[in-house]
Amino acid sequence: MDVSRISGVKGAPLPKPPAIQRFFDSVPVSVAIYVIVVGLIVYGSFTGAQNMGYNWQWYRIPQYLYSFTDDGFQWGEIMIGLVATLQLSVTAFALATALGLLVALLRLSGLIVGSAVAVGFLELIRNIPLLVLLYLFYYVLGPIFGFDRYTASILTLAVFHAALISEILRAGINAVPRGQWEAAKSIGMTQFQTYRYIVLPQSVRFMLPPMTGEVVHLIKSSAIVSVIAVAELTTIGRNIISDTYMSFEIWFTVAAVYMAVTLILSAGVSYLERRYSVDQ
């Protein structure tokens, strides 16, 4: 942007930075330095761990990802754990959305007891850590209602994220212009009909971006259920570590798998957002 073009003021142009600075500021060089720095960090931690007496055994990792047996190609334990994590997350997310919708509607309803219950639920869940909530569900409510660990995990994740989702839903519903509500009322629709045909369909557009963020959040939260030994990715990782003591390799592999999943999901979501973005 040239100042002289805007205001018509003429003057000597700003001096260009010296050539060497321009060299280092250029994109390829910056990227090269970045790669070098990251490489140094990785190399440094590698040798540092080795000097501590840690025995790197990367060659043992692939068998946990996949293997070729007599029956043909088989997924390894880590991949099976990943599938279990995804199953757990999808179930919990569905339940969380249903519960979140219920809570959001209660809050918006204007019912005295209803909104009190909703607000009480929200404040309670939002101020207790997830781990403590999991222990509560598994050790306290588990014996009472007869939950097994899988059910307790799903319920914990669902309840925890329902509190977050209900806020997203409520904000989405509130974002629908008031005019829509008034128009619906003026043609004689009941509240229920307004929600079902006018408001909720339009609010989906506002809710979609934060909801997808919430899916990623839930996949990350699901790792906590490893403390009660539910079969999923982190649990399997910890089990392999306790058998083989390859702490670093396994933890990095598990972290890489989680990162791959969340990055793919986020990329997919951005793509969808761009494809279906609506002009206001």
């Binding site: 588990g142 660990r149 910890r238 306790s242 003591y245 702490s247």
Partner: protein, 277 residues
């Protein structure tokens, strides 16, 4: 001028260092091993750090929030005999072996059973306690039954899936029906409810459960299945520590102290009022 002076200084320092290093490298291997032993660090620091994980009655917190239990008695006696302070490092059970290997503490005294798999990563001393699995049975349902009577298809055992008792029951009572559960307390609950005739657990749990529910539960036989020893866990490559701890444990067996302490904590409930049991 400055440069050459600096070079001279460096050269002198290097020669001096090598000169001093030469006799040090002649240090024998045995001296090296001893100086690296954990016994040496314990003596130098004046403290023995013991890693443990809370498990009744091995170790637990009493009403004052202090640590009491069989392990605590063992650890305090050990420290007293070594003439050092004792520090207990409560650690989560599934991280206790990695914590030992990383050096968070000097020895594991936590009712750890000697298993071949654990032995691949750490070394074990001689056992300082023995335990095994015992049968916990529903009193009314198993009145007057002998050991062989338990190995019949009408008899139901309850066990936790994947745990040692499940494998032991399957091996010793192949004709009986085995119900598998995911939860720890579930198998005991089934026997209490009368949905199963019996289950197995590591002593002293069966004795304590039977003590808590004397009308419903009993421990009908003294037989111990899958007998195991519990030992101290130490890092690999430390012969001095192994020798010291083994001799200490042997002496405590000879004097009867270990047996007396074990009985106090595992066979009686005299300590129960100190803890909120």
């Amino acid at each position: 001028m400055k440069f050459s002076r600096r070079m001279l200084g460096l050269a002198l320092a290097a020669t001096a260092a090598t000169g001093l290093a030469l006799p040090a490298s002649a240090q024998s291997t045995t001296q090296g091993l001893s100086s690296e032993s954990v016994i040496e660090t314990i003596k130098q620091d004046g403290v023995i750090r013991i890693g443990l994980s809370l498990f009744v009655p091995w170790s637990m917190r009493d009403k004052n929030g202090d640590l009491i239990g069989f392990e605590l008695d063992v650890g305090r006696q050990l420290a007293e005999d070594m003439g050092v302070e004792v520090e207990f490092v409560p650690t989560a059970w599934d991280g206790i072996i990695p914590a030992l290997v990383s050096g968070n503490f000097d020895v594991i005294i936590s009712g750890m059973s000697v298993t071949a798999q654990r032995n691949l990563t750490i070394n074990f001393t001689d056992p300082y306690a023995y335990s095994g699995l015992a049968i916990l049975a529903n009193k009314s349902m198993t009145e007057g039954m002998s050991l062989e009577d338990f190995n019949k298809p009408e008899i139901t055992f309850a066990a936790r899936r994947g745990a040692t008792p499940a494998a032991v029951i399957a091996e010793n009572f192949p004709n009986a029906t085995l119900l598998l559960f995911d939860e720890d307390g579930a198998s005991t609950q089934e026997v209490l409810n009368g949905n199963a005739h019996a289950s197995m657990a590591a002593q002293p749990t069966p004795n304590r459960e039977a003590g808590r529910n004397p009308e419903t539960l009993s421990v009908p036989f003294e037989n111990l299945y899958d007998p195991r020893g519990e030992a101290f866990g130490v890092r690999k490559g430390d012969p001095d520590a192994m020798n010291y701890f083994n001799n200490w444990i042997a002496q405590q067996w000879r004097s009867g102290w270990l047996e007396e302490r074990h009985n106090y904590w595992f066979a009686t409930e005299e300590w129960a009022d100190q803890v909120a049991q």
